[in-house]
């Protein structure tokens, strides 16, 4: 459980705060998407969630621990895993298993348990068998899954992903989203910061940020249907959603358009 209580954050030497009095609570086992234009404060939110940045005003609580409390810094960071956009830049180890071990090694986990955690994390992202592979020989999708495994090895209750699929091809993106869906059903909270509203459809809840403020907080389809908010945020509904809307306008009954399968099923029931 991550709670933002009236959080404001300003970067040094900036006139306008990057986040302005944001209050949200992110529950365990949920999938939340965070959307917004560049500079809307999405990445700042991610770095505040695990205490890499500390709020200028207000507080952030992770499982009841204040991130500003230095005594809890390592607990906070291990319970909120952070995955960044470019997988190449966050892989530290010279081989896959060494990289996964990096987090728990820093926490001083004993060797027998390290082995278990590494094997478990690699199994969770489907990279079992590639333990000794060098990272630069992996595909981009595999690299990003490796980065997720690195966070998982610290046994986090929550994963914050800062545009995890922005640099991936369609296949890699599918792999990563499938892994995230599995993690969520195993109880890990997912916070996916994304530009892609189609990806946001994986979430039950979407938080839209606009100039550091929460402009929308609620279910995804409702945001997509709310043209006023969409327009003011400069967001465009995904093509599939627009297609479904156009079809509805012509009298087809399409209840939900989360995936192409939903639409096909509605048009041509099997």
């Amino acid at each position: 459980m991550i709670v933002f209580e009236d959080v404001t954050y300003s970067y040094p030497a900036a006139d306008v705060p990057a986040l302005d009095r944001v209050s949200v609570a992110l529950a365990h086992g949920s999938w939340t998407a965070v959307v917004g234009a560049n500079g809307s404060g999405k990445s700042t939110l991610a770095r505040l969630a695990n205490g890499l940045l500390l709020p200028s005003a207000g507080r952030v609580l992770v499982d009841g621990m204040d991130t500003a409390d230095e005594g809890h810094a390592w607990e906070v960071r291990s319970s909120v895993g952070l995955v960044l956009q470019n997988p190449d830049n966050q892989i530290v180890g010279t081989v896959v298993e060494e990289d996964v071990a990096f987090g728990p090694e820093n926490l001083g986990v004993p060797r027998e348990e390290l082995r278990l955690r590494v094997d478990g994390a690699l199994a969770a992202v489907g990279l079992t068998g590639l333990e000794r592979r060098e990272p630069h020989l992996l595909s981009e999708g595999q690299k990003q899954r490796l980065a997720i495994a690195g966070a998982l090895a610290m046994k986090p209750g929550c994963l914050v992903l800062d545009e995890p699929t922005a640099m991936l091809d369609v296949e890699g993106r599918g792999e990563v989203l499938a892994v995230l869906a599995e993690l969520r059903s195993a109880g890990t909270a997912i916070i996916d910061i994304t530009h892609d509203l189609a990806e946001a459809l994986c979430a039950q809840r979407v938080i839209a940020l606009d100039h550091g403020r929460v402009a929308y907080d609620g279910p995804v389809p409702e945001l997509l249907a709310n043209e006023g908010v969409m327009c003011s945020l400069g967001l465009e509904p995904p093509p599939l959603f627009r297609l479904a809307a156009a079809l509805r306008a012509r009298g087809f009954a399409i209840a939900e358009a989360r995936s192409a399968e939903d639409v096909v099923e509605a048009l041509w029931p099997s």
């Binding site: 966050q90 298993e97 630069h136 690195g150």
Partner: protein, 265 residues
Amino acid sequence: MRAPVAFGQYVPADSPVHALDARTKMGLVAAFTVSLFLMHDLAGLAVAGVLVALVVRVSQVPWRIALRGTKAVTVILVITLAAHALRWNPATVSLVRLGPLAVDGPGLVTGIFFAFRIVLLVVGTSLLTLTTSPVALTDGLETLMRPLERLRFPASEVAMMLTIALRFIPTTAQEAEKILVAQTARGARFDESGPIRRAKAFGPVLVPLFVNLFRRADDLATAMEARCYRGGIGRTRLHESVMRSSDWAVLCLGTFGLIALGLVL
């Protein structure tokens, strides 16, 4: 696509030499170097040469690669030989004479001695890097440096820096290649002759490469902090290189043997 970028000199193989701990090999190389400098005639060097040849055979490193290191010292070898063997207008009898220039017999022997010692030194030490992976070398160095932590030397941090450098060499090489292609597509020329022109041509590659490296470093720092990195304090390791009893045996016997050899011959 070109083949994956190869770096370092490591020749992977499944040999008893490869199986030795990096520290054992470092110790033996040190002993071998001392031994070479203790020897004072060609007979001793010949024995050392046979030893090196044996190790090369056992390690399955191809001869071509094992001898590659000597190419870099060719000039030194030639100068060493010439300085010892050539005489200008000597009064003594010499082997060959070409006008005033003469090849002196004993001088030639001394020259060969020194040149051969350099060759053995180069081949012997390069066997360490040829048969030990860079990762194993770094790990070995870390454990060797660990006692220095008492003197506030940041051994674990230095090892982490080396590991990260190793990790990013292939990534950076791949990126350099991408930028090279991109700049070629924009009309940059990398085929011009002359070292200065060629160096200048690489400016458009190096600048974006460095800018990106700084960006990477920033990201990496964030990622490492997010994964609780706080220096070497309280860190455990998934793999700790272990000196097995065979390593100790090889190290002790080898060092003793090599030094004894150096003293006797």
